[in-house]
């Protein structure tokens, strides 16, 4: 024997989803003329609500933009097999190409160096700016660290002997390298060890950064970037290995 639905329950269900097709809800809606009238009114309101929310149309330029953004990356390498050429032809054809390539490589190296320097300055500048606000004695539990990472970056630190040993004293989202990343601070043997996780990949391979007081490394991590910076005496590689091998990115 199914208990008849009370008015209060019916009203709650009606407000939560007037278009519900649940048989118990439909039966309750048809139980009395008053309920039926309230249900019809709620359905009419819902129709207006849906029509207004769906009146927002994506601009016509959006789909091409979305497809082109991914199209910038080639789907697969194109393999061409040109016919054999004589040495003279070869030189005539490829010498200018080689010269242009060399020039491009040189410029790329120059700008990359310049960009890396700016990136290093930005990261170290941020660490110095935040230093006065880092508590020495606080401890953030791994679950809380993960709750923050999940929300901000869609990532989490696996629970392992190495991560459980970390003493995290600070977690905050920060704007570094023109993007919003998460800045963790771990208590190290010589002082704070800063770990910055950036949502995009800003370096192609592991790259050292340093100044007169601090040393660190930036490394790509599953399409994102991991930065570890601490005192000159701190075993940075060890921290980098712990974070890189335990960070799991969802996307």
């Amino acid at each position: 024997m199914i208990e008849p639905m009370t008015d209060a329950t019916f009203e709650e269900l009606l407000g939560a989803n007037p278009l519900s097709q649940d048989p118990a809800f439909l039966a309750a809606a048809r139980a009395t003329p008053a309920r039926e009238a309230a249900w019809q009114a709620a359905c009419a309101f819902e129709k207006r609500l849906r029509a207004s929310l769906e009146a927002v149309q994506a601009p016509a330029t959006l789909l091409p933009r979305l497809l082109a953004a991914v199209g910038a990356e080639p789907a697969a390498p194109v393999m061409l097999r040109p016919p054999r050429a004589s040495t003279g032809d070869w030189l005539r054809r490829y010498l200018p190409v080689a010269a242009v390539l060399l020039l491009a490589l040189g410029m790329n190296w120059y700008f990359q160096f310049d960009g890396l320097q700016a990136l290093q300055d930005d990261i170290l500048g941020h660490i110095y700016d935040e230093a006065p606000y880092i508590p020495e004695s606080a401890q953030v539990a791994l679950d809380d660290v993960n709750a923050h990472l999940e929300l901000s970056l869609g990532a989490h630190l696996a629970s392992s002997a190495a991560t459980r040993k970390l003493r995290v004293t600070f977690v905050k989202d920060c704007k570094v390298a023109k993007q919003v990343g998460t800045h963790l601070v771990v208590k190290g043997a010589q002082g704070p060890v800063n770990v910055i996780m950036l949502p995009s990949q800003v370096v192609e391979h592991e790259t050292a950064i340093a100044d007169a007081h601090l040393q660190g490394k930036m490394t790509p991590s599953s399409g994102h970037t991991l930065v570890v910076v601490g005192d000159k005496q701190e075993p940075i590689d060890e921290y980098l290995r712990v974070f890189d091998s335990n960070l799991e990115w969802e996307y």
Binding site: G15, L62, P199, G223
Partner: protein
């Protein structure tokens, strides 16, 4: 040697085919969901240009992590989750709220060709939606635009199912009150 070349060529071919297949699956995903993703982005970030950027960022992240999407049936929820996180990461914390009237007007849906009544209703709803607190607006948008059930919304928002149902109920009640036509001045005197 010839056999080795042949094996390499076959391997290259399968890599190319795999990449092309991945691209075409991804494009199908974009075509299927970009309207809803854009709409949801628009209603949570309150601005057309931001909604476009947010939609693009969401799909770029989805592309980079496309191999992690093992269940195509969960694609929509996955995209909504990415969008919510990107919005929280990029805009919520680091941009001022766009809540003055000029921004409302510039952010209104493009309804130039709509009937006057419909236009007024859209404007009324726009203002009512924007004045809803995010905790009420978000589940309502997920239900109406995303078509998600209460349980799916609860999972995505990491809330209890009952909390979601209560928020949906309150969101609709608040909207209904906000969208009630204002009383006509002098009506009491006339009666």
């Amino acid at each position: 040697m010839a056999a080795k070349d042949c094996a390499k060529e076959s391997n290259d071919k399968s890599v190319i085919e795999g990449a092309a297949h991945k691209r075409s699956r991804y494009e199908a995903l974009v075509r299927e969901f970009y309207h809803d993703i854009y709409r949801y982005a628009y209603w949570i970030c309150k601005s057309r240009p931001l909604a476009e950027d947010l939609t693009q960022e969401t799909f770029m992240r989805a592309w980079r992590a496309f191999d992690n999407l093992h269940n195509p049936g969960a694609a929509k929820a996955w995209l909504f989750t990415i969008l919510r996180r990107e919005n929280a990461r990029l805009y919520e914390k680091f941009q001022p709220e766009l809540d003055d009237i000029e921004d409302h007007e510039s952010g209104l849906p493009d309804t130039r060709h709509a009937e006057p009544d419909r236009l007024m209703e859209n404007q009324l709803l726009y203002k009512a939606m924007m004045s809803l607190e995010p905790e009420y607006r978000e589940p309502l948008l997920m239900q109406v635009i995303g078509g998600f059930s209460g349980e799916e919304i609860a999972t995505m928002l990491e809330l209890n199912n009952n909390t979601v149902m209560t928020r949906l109920f309150r969101a609709r009640n608040k909207l209904r009150v906000l969208m009630e036509p204002l009383p006509v001045e002098g009506r009491q005197d006339e009666s």
